[in-house]
Symmetry: C2
Subunit: 272 residues, 2 copies
Amino acid sequence: MSHVFDEAISVRRTDDVFHATTHPAYSNMVGPFGGITAATVVHALQQHPDTLGEPLAVTINYTAPIADGDWDLFTSAVRTNRTNQHWVFRIEQHGDIVSTGTAVFGLHRPTWSNTEAQPPTAPPVEEIEPLEFPEFIAWARNYDKRFVTGGLDAGASDDSTSTLWIRDAPERPLDYPALMSITDSFYPRVFLRHGTYMPAGTISLTTYFHATPGELSEHGTAHLLATASAARFAGGHYDQHGRVWSVPGEGEPVLLASTHQLVYFKNPQPQE
Amino acid sequence: MSHVFDEAISVRRTDDVFHATTHPAYSNMVGPFGGITAATVVHALQQHPDTLGEPLAVTINYTAPIADGDWDLFTSAVRTNRTNQHWVFRIEQHGDIVSTGTAVFGLHRPTWSNTEAQPPTAPPVEEIEPLEFPEFIAWARNYDKRFVTGGLDAGASDDSTSTLWIRDAPERPLDYPALMSITDSFYPRVFLRHGTYMPAGTISLTTYFHATPGELSEHGTAHLLATASAARFAGGHYDQHGRVWSVPGEGEPVLLASTHQLVYFKNPQPQE
């Protein structure tokens, strides 16, 4: 029996074009959840016969709303170097460009390694109750989310940080598309600052993948420790920066991905 | 008399194509300094008659080395919304694609605003001596650089953080191209960890512009306070995250830009 995530990211290829369809299980308030769109791009590029190695960096720009239904992903491998490969892509729907982006794939080479970043402190996942999001955020039902801080029920906060344990529900072994999706799974930071919903949406998202295939497979189906904050809100935009960690029972935490996004928001009555 | 930075970023437009030429004053060890290439893209897009508002986000992928000489920037405004506009671009040289990227331009709208990030602590710029980089890093001579921590002369460090006061030399009023360039001006973090040079280069760079035109003009020609660190080095890559602040004599510091990049590095003998 296939996982609903695999159904949602499935694609059919015609040369450099991949055909996909939105999945109701990953609907957002308007159109599909951006994370599932980005995950579908990663999954598609992994299926391309010319692809070199694993995803290292993906930038996706959400240029226009995606409607429920079919969409086409146009890809082009513009440059293949010895250890990395550059892709450009766009998503079209009914003749409109609804997303653009670039991706870097490549090989993990043996080098000196070191992690400077530290994971946030968090109690064990078993000690935290899962948080359900409201019914109209359909995609969130496919994630088990246990907030250490900054849950959607937290009320207004001076600190836009959310830290949570998260994994697919039902469980699913972690892979690059799933990691991509989770890097876009933080609800808008501006909701947390105001303790309320308001119009907000990702404009541009960049994720850097540190994870090797071996690290993904060692992580398996466990919860990930994810954290995100905003740096500055102004002029109708803010930037979000986040990190996703694998925290094994024994051994060192592994930084699997870092992620950044520029977000649009709207509140009609300026405060302060 | 024009500033050398203006000479370096100058472009000539033919419809959606901009013609540029590398400038010897901004050479790097191999080819031009990436920051000046990105700055030229920002400058070009600002010259396009169809451009809406100011730069909000730019992602540039350095797909292949740029040779000294002429290059062409191909731009396309793929989507103009009410308050933002999405561009895709590529740079070609001798028929090869040497860079790809996307840019978001848009309007700053009146909204609630707040800055959560804190600038690093730093003594006044006057108390720090400028640091000269070696002769073979030509571009660095066009910046007055005063390191608070993590200078290129710092030796090996367990912490990849560099914090510095930086501005164009000679002085030049801050604008978006100059800010773009400065977000790529941090020397490779892996040099700082090892206290030595090694092959390293930016693969993909994303900068989010928070600055309004008014904030740039208020900043003027003062030094910027810039800081950058890496989170994880592994498999021949690391991610760098940085911030660039305006720190007025009186009043609150202003976060002008946040920036992220994925960097390639190579050391043939794995340590640890």
